[in-house]
Every structure is written in structure tokens, then in C-alpha cells.
């Protein structure tokens, strides 16, 4: 099981009336590809932050890769995340003043994973990034190129889980299609689970399992 959630409630304030999340039971299987769609502001990012350990709950309601998130200490969660979870955002996936290669190396540093320069370059060319972009600061790259470097950054440590939060929302149609097919191709190669969250329902075509976030989260619905 990649993720399993039982009786999760979460709110930013102390009052129990302001629940952001209320999830009875939800699971993501190993190597499963899941697309969750939902409008913005419905708690999707909070949900993802809880799974990645940036937010914590007081009870034992979230298990990621068989480990209970509230059992780990802060530093343990950080290195657990570095090793096991690859994250892709809508924007700002890369340190703008570092090159693609340096960005990927930083990710390897936190996972204490010794990845050779050549395997980084191999990955970048698998993602159709030309060699002339490898050593340029990433703020010179186009949005499409940046998102493809972000895939490389997320996958370099061979994580068991990829979380993508609106990864295509800054891309045009053509780049979105390139991005999605490369992402699906790479996750399949790695045999990892993929959890993609977006408001764009047209992405459903790539996934075997599709859910609406409002079906998962009952908070706010009376």
C-alpha cells in the first residue's frame, strides 16, 4: 500500500467546526496511477502536504509506504521525504539560479543518494532536454523545459511515490501533452505510484483510476 488514510480530520484553527479535511477511509495502492480532480481551494494542497509530512496530525491516521507519519521525528520525515517522495508543483520546481544538473544534484544530496553525472544526463536526454540547457541557470528555460526538468528532479532518487500538484496548469496544450506522456512513461519505468491532483479533467485520459476530491473529503459537505 502506498498511502492509507483512516479517519483523518484536519483544521488550521482549533475550532472543530472549521474542518478542512475529513476523510474516513482512502487508499492508494502500490504502482497505482491516480488522478484526483477538484476545484481550487477545496483542500487538495493541504491533503498533499499531510501526505508529504510538511503538515502533521496528532493521531495515527496517515500511513505512507507502511510508515505512520506522526511516529517520525521532523528530521526523519525530511529524509524520508527526500528518499521516497518525488514532488512536482505547478511552478517553482527549481532553484532559478542553478542549472538543471545542479538542481537535480541538490535533490540527491538530501536523499544521500550517489547518482553519477552521467545518469543525470541520461535522464535529462530521456526527457528531451537538449544538452545546451543542462548547464544554464533554469530561469533561462521555457516553462515546458522547466516542468520536464522537474520530472527528472522528482524521479532521480527512484522514489516509490510521485505527487504532482497541478503540474500542467502553467503549460499550453502541446507542452501539456508532451509533459503528461513523459511523466506516465517515466513512472511506469520506475514502477512507482503516481498521485496527480488537478482541476483540469481532461487529464483523466492518462489514468486508470480517477476520483473527485469532493468524494474523498467530506468536510464542508453537510
Amino acid at each position: 500500500m502506498s498511502i492509507s488514510i483512516n479517519n483523518l480530520t484536519f483544521s488550521y484553527s482549533k475550532s472543530p467546526d472549521d474542518l478542512v479535511l475529513n476523510i474516513k477511509h482512502w487508499q492508494l495502492h502500490e504502482q497505482e496511477n491516480l488522478f484526483i480532480h477538484g476545484p481550487s481551494g477545496c483542500g487538495k494542497t493541504t491533503f498533499l502536504n499531510l501526505i508529504s509530512g510538511l503538515l502533521t496530525t496528532s493521531n495515527d491516521s496517515i500511513k505512507v509506504l507502511q510508515r505512520s507519519m506522526n511516529e517520525m521525528k521532523g528530521s526523519e520525515i525530511d529524509s524520508f521525504r527526500a528518499k521516497n517522495i518525488g514532488y512536482i508543483f505547478q511552478t517553482f520546481n527549481l532553484i532559478p539560479y542553478l542549472s538543471p544538473i545542479e538542481n537535480i544534484k541538490i535533490a540527491c544530496q538530501f536523499s544521500k543518494n550517489n547518482v553519477s553525472q552521467s545518469s543525470i544526463k541520461q535522464m535529462l536526454s530521456d526527457l528531451h532536454l537538449e544538452a545546451k540547457t543542462w548547464h544554464k541557470a533554469t530561469h533561462f528555460l521555457s516553462m515546458g523545459q522547466k516542468q520536464r526538468v522537474a520530472i527528472a528532479r522528482a524521479l532521480i532518487n527512484q522514489p516509490k511515490l510521485i505527487i504532482a500538484d497541478e503540474p500542467t496548469s502553467s503549460l499550453d496544450e502541446k507542452n501539456r501533452d508532451i509533459f503528461m506522456s513523459l511523466l506516465m512513461e517515466q513512472t511506469e519505468k520506475l514502477n512507482c505510484a503516481l498521485l496527480l491532483v488537478s482541476h483540469d479533467t481532461s487529464l483523466s485520459q492518462y489514468f486508470s483510476r480517477v476520483e473527485s476530491f469532493n468524494d474523498i473529503n467530506t468536510a464542508g459537505s453537510l
Binding site: 510538511l54 521525504r81 532553484i95 532559478p96 542553478l98 535533490a107
Partner: protein
């Protein structure tokens, strides 16, 4: 990797980082320059006179006497008579004396009338005697011996004739033209006011003044009536206070005898408060520049929230974020320190000859004293402390780097 991250992040913010570096190096420049000047002046003053037990002049304050007789700063208030000088010259507890007669100049350099005892007994630094780089001591009434700086700056050689002027201005109208002096010796460099002085015989001084005043010329008694001051060495140091009392209580004439070391420390005591104020100001300037560093980093953290969030997502612990900010501060402080040392060293080298000529200050361009290293070390620590505020902010931001 963290170093690459910190340095590339600084390069990415060239403008503000460069200004901060300049602010730090300017403030360090001020601090180091003030401190260096202070140390070097003290050292210069202390090394100017050595082995002299007492300095004697007509009644005046000890600091004034010390400054005009030894350092040639300011003007003598009154002279003492040749008779009084002779009287103490034969004092049983006094081993040697050096007469000093001031008042003339040559192209802006002071002229001091004295006798051969000066070259025998005057010591500088750590009891170094004077030595000649060319020529020898006085041989004739109109012989002149040059300090090394005078010879070098005015490009004089042995046997060149020179003319003295009355008073101290190089454009003086009253030149003693009819009496050219002949250069007989040139002293080795000492790093003291000796280098900027011309030495002539007492008789030579007397001769030019007599004839300048009266228009007469030859064959007169050239024994001086007055001298400005004299230095003396004792047969035994134990006698210092006895002899000092003898001189101060000399019935014929009001005289002052001072211990050069004591007078110097009196001078430092007066200068002390000025020094403290200068030090305080330069430390405040440093503080201001470090606060500037802190402010720059605080501003940068607000711009870098996304970057911090990203680093957290890929597994950086909050302590890593803290470390990056500290590392950036240390890099800035180190570069600022390097720049200030470079700037001050080049300034010292560039202005060395001007400072020597104008103020008689010999400044070493070597800044690597224990004291300076300590100051620079403390500044690095202060930079680390100043960066703790923004680093802690970044740490907190890293702990709660959640976009709702």
C-alpha cells in the same frame, strides 16, 4: 553543494550583495586604518628616543618640551643659556649630553644645530645607534649631515652645497645665502624624525645668525649664547630623580628636565580619550554595516519563501535553511574583509611617501598584527551573530513553509 547554493544565490542578487560587501569593507577600512595609524604612531613615537635619560629645556610643560625638542612638532617657547648647558655638561652624574638648537630650515625640512655627540650617543628604536650611509661626522663649521629622507627626496650627494633659511617655510625670504653649507655625511634610515632633519654644527648656526643680523663676517667667537634644549645620559639610572631635581631647582635659570618615557605616557593619556572616541566611532560604523547585512538578508528571505519551500519539499531540514543564510553572511563578511585589507594595504603603499614627508609618520603596510587578526576574527563572529536574525526567520519560515 551547500557552498555552491549559497554562492550562486549571492551571485543571483549581485546588486544588493555588492553594496553590502562595499559597506562592510568601507567600515572595516575605517576601523583598521584608525587602529593601524594609532599603533604605528605610538610605535613611531616610542622608537624615536631610546637610551636618553632626561631631556632638558627652559621652563615649560613636559609634553611641549618633548614634542618640540625630539619630534620637532610645534615651536620652542624659550631658550636656555649656554652657561647652564655647560654647567650640567660637567655634572658628575651626567655621562653625556647632546645640545639641540632649532629654528632654521631647508626646503621645509628642519635644521638642528648640535655637535658630534649627537652621532655618538643618540639612540633610536631598541637602542640602535645612528650610522652613516655615506660620509662622516662634522669636520668643519659649515658641514651638514642629512637624514636619509632629506637626501633621498632632494636628491643630494656628498659635497653638494646647500643654503639654510630662517624660520620654517620653504619659501622663506630670509635665506642665509652668503653661507653655503657643504654636505659631509648622510645617515641611514631610522624611521624616526631624524630622517627628515638636517644636522649642522652649533657654530655654523651661530655664524649665519650673527652675520645675518649684523652684516659682519669673519673671525668672531662662534660659541653660541643659547641653545633650545639638550638631551642627557646618566652614569647610573639610579641618579635619574636626583639629577632631575638638580636641574628643576637650578637657581640661575628656570629649567625643566623630563623623562621622555613619562612625558610620552602623559601624551598618550591625553590622546587616550580621543583614541577611545575614534575607536567607538569605528566600531559603530562596523555595527551599522553589519545591521545593513542583516537587513539585506531579511529582505532576501521574503523574496525567497518559494525557494525555501522547494528546498523543504525535496527534503532539506530547517537547519539546512538556517545554515545557508549564515553561510551567505560569512561569505559576504569574508569578501568584505579581504577587500578592506586589499584597499588599506594599497592606500598605505600609495600614500606612504606623502605621509612620511608631511607628518613624519612611517607607516608599515603590513596589517597582519595579532591585534588586527583578532579584530577581523571578531568581525566574522559579529557577522554570524548579525545573520542569526534572518537565519532564524528563514528557519521559522522553513518550519511553516506551507502554502494554504
Amino acid at each position: 553543494m551547500i557552498l555552491t547554493l549559497a554562492s550562486k544565490s549571492l551571485l543571483n542578487r549581485k546588486g544588493s550583495v555588492l553594496l553590502t560587501i562595499i559597506a562592510i569593507s568601507v567600515s572595516l577600512f575605517v576601523l583598521l586604518a584608525v587602529d593601524h595609524l594609532r599603533q604605528q604612531t605610538k610605535q613611531g613615537f616610542a622608537s624615536t628616543i631610546s637610551g636618553t635619560d632626561l631631556v632638558v629645556g627652559s621652563r615649560t610643560s613636559s609634553i611641549n618640551l618633548l614634542l618640540y625638542s625630539i619630534f620637532h612638532i610645534g615651536t620652542p617657547t624659550a631658550n636656555l643659556s649656554w652657561k647652564a648647558y655647560q654647567n650640567f655638561n660637567s655634572h658628575p652624574q651626567i655621562a653625556w649630553t647632546i645640545p639641540i638648537s632649532l629654528g632654521d630650515s631647508h626646503k621645509g625640512y628642519r635644521v638642528m644645530g648640535t655637535n658630534d655627540d649627537f652621532f655618538l650617543h643618540y639612540n633610536f628604536g631598541n637602542k640602535h645607534p645612528l650610522s652613516f650611509s655615506a660620509g662622516d661626522k662634522f669636520n668643519d663649521t659649515f658641514d651638514v649631515v642629512l637624514g636619509s629622507e632629506v637626501a633621498q627626496q632632494l636628491n643630494y650627494k656628498i659635497n653638494d652645497p646647500i643654503v639654510l633659511s630662517h624660520g620654517l617655510v620653504s619659501t622663506s625670504f630670509s635665506n642665509h645665502d652668503q653661507y653655503p653649507f657643504k654636505i659631509i655625511g648622510i645617515l641611514n634610515s631610522t624611521g624616526t624624525p631624524v630622517d627628515q632633519t638636517l644636522y649642522v654644527t652649533l657654530k655654523g648656526i651661530e655664524a649665519i645668525h650673527k652675520n645675518w643680523q649684523n652684516g659682519k663676517k669673519q673671525n668672531e667667537d662662534l660659541t653660541p649664547k643659547n641653545i633650545t634644549a639638550f638631551m642627557l645620559g646618566l652614569t647610573s639610572r639610579m641618579a635619574t630623580f636626583d639629577v632631575q631635581r638638580d636641574i628643576n631647582q637650578y637657581a640661575q635659570e628656570p629649567l625643566t628636565a623630563i623623562l621622555p618615557g613619562v612625558a610620552l605616557s602623559e601624551l598618550w593619556h591625553i590622546m587616550g580619550s580621543v583614541e577611545q572616541v575614534l575607536k567607538l566611532i569605528s566600531y559603530l560604523v562596523i555595527l551599522a554595516s553589519l545591521l545593513g547585512l542583516s537587513a539585506m538578508l531579511v529582505a532576501s528571505i521574503n523574496e525567497r519563501r518559494q525557494e525555501i519551500h522547494l528546498l523543504r519539499i525535496i527534503g532539506a531540514p530547517p537547519s539546512y535553511i538556517f545554515l545557508i543564510i549564515e553561510l551567505e553572511a560569512i561569505l559576504i563578511a569574508l569578501i568584505g574583509t579581504g577587500l578592506s585589507l586589499l584597499a588599506l594595504t594599497s592606500a598605505l603603499i600609495a600614500f606612504q611617501s606623502t605621509l612620511t614627508a608631511e607628518f613624519g609618520l612611517h607607516l608599515s603596510a603590513n596589517l597582519f598584527s595579532m591585534n588586527n587578526l583578532l579584530i577581523l576574527g571578531l568581525v566574522q563572529i559579529a557577522a554570524i551573530i548579525a545573520a542569526a536574525i534572518p537565519a532564524a526567520m528563514a528557519y521559522r519560515s522553513a518550519q511553516h513553509s506551507i502554502k494554504h
